[in-house]
Amino acid sequence: MWKWLHPYAKAETTYKLCYRLLPYFSWLAVITLVSGSIWGLFYAPSDYQQGDSFRIIYFHVPTAIWSMGAYTSMAICGLIGIVWQIRNAELAVYAIAPVGAAFTFLALISGAIWGKPMWGAWWVWDARLTSELILLFLYLGVIALYNSFEDKRTAARASSILAIVGVINVPIIHYSVEWWNTLHQGASITKFDKPSISPDMLWPLLLNISGFLFVLAALVCLRLANQILINDARRPWVKAMVSEKTNKAEQSKNRATLADKE
């Protein structure tokens, strides 16, 4: 059943897959993000309570959702790396972490900018905001831990364990608005009954949510391919790429010296 998956344990196959998927993710990201943002910023009706300040939702909610989504997928990759010793999964942990950290940062910043006019404060130490801040620290911890080991196998194992342990924070973030009293508003889309948001506002939001997912996917493809390249530096296929680059550099150098002589 899982046999189709086996070739992707080979680094070169995954490397090629990354670059094959990259254009699709990139174009989907451009199309959905541009249309979703323009629709949300200029065409969606304003909120009856929050006026036009609610338009920050089109950047706050997608980055917040995928900051948690990226963390969960990073933890799953860490688990796969530890349990089945698959090197590509370990590399994916380090490929996802910086993108997830950037999304978490954006969710926190856009939340603060939204909080100032609506709550009267940039920041409050309530459960939702604090747990999201801890998520940022977990991401930074994973990155720092990976960089602090010379041996990258040990580094990957240590940061994978941190990623797996930290995943407990994700449900805490999600349910924090129900478990504790908070200024943060509750869920509008992920409720079991009908979403409590007008379709005119919901459609651009869904576009941007999918748009940020495609951005995440495209960036992870690029970064995973790069990690595979570093990891396989001593393998023939990477050496061939490097020597090709060397030849090109020499050719251009020769051409430059010829031009100088002339």
């Binding site: 006026g51 856009s110 790069n226 530096a233 060397t246």
Partner: protein
């Protein structure tokens, strides 16, 4: 279109600075991430090329030293 004029859209009902600063920060962070990720391959290949050149130089120096040592007459 929800707004009648461009200046109305820029004002965002008085919340303009908040909404537009969010937009610009999102664009700036995403652009930085995209550029950093797109140049990663080039940086890696350059690093590996420099490593390779260094290894070649060391091997060459070692070889010429060995050749020198193996010659019978030198004082």
């Amino acid at each position: 279109m929800h707004f009648n004029t461009i200046s109305e859209a820029l004002a965002m009902g008085g919340y303009g600075p908040y909404v537009w600063s969010t937009v610009w920060i999102v664009i700036a962070v995403l652009l930085f991430l995209i550029i950093h990720s797109m140049t990663a391959k080039k940086r890696t290949l350059t690093m590996l090329r420099l490593e390779q050149e260094r290894a070649d130089k060391i091997a060459l120096a070692k070889k010429s030293n060995d050749d020198y040592q193996s010659k019978p007459n030198h004082n």
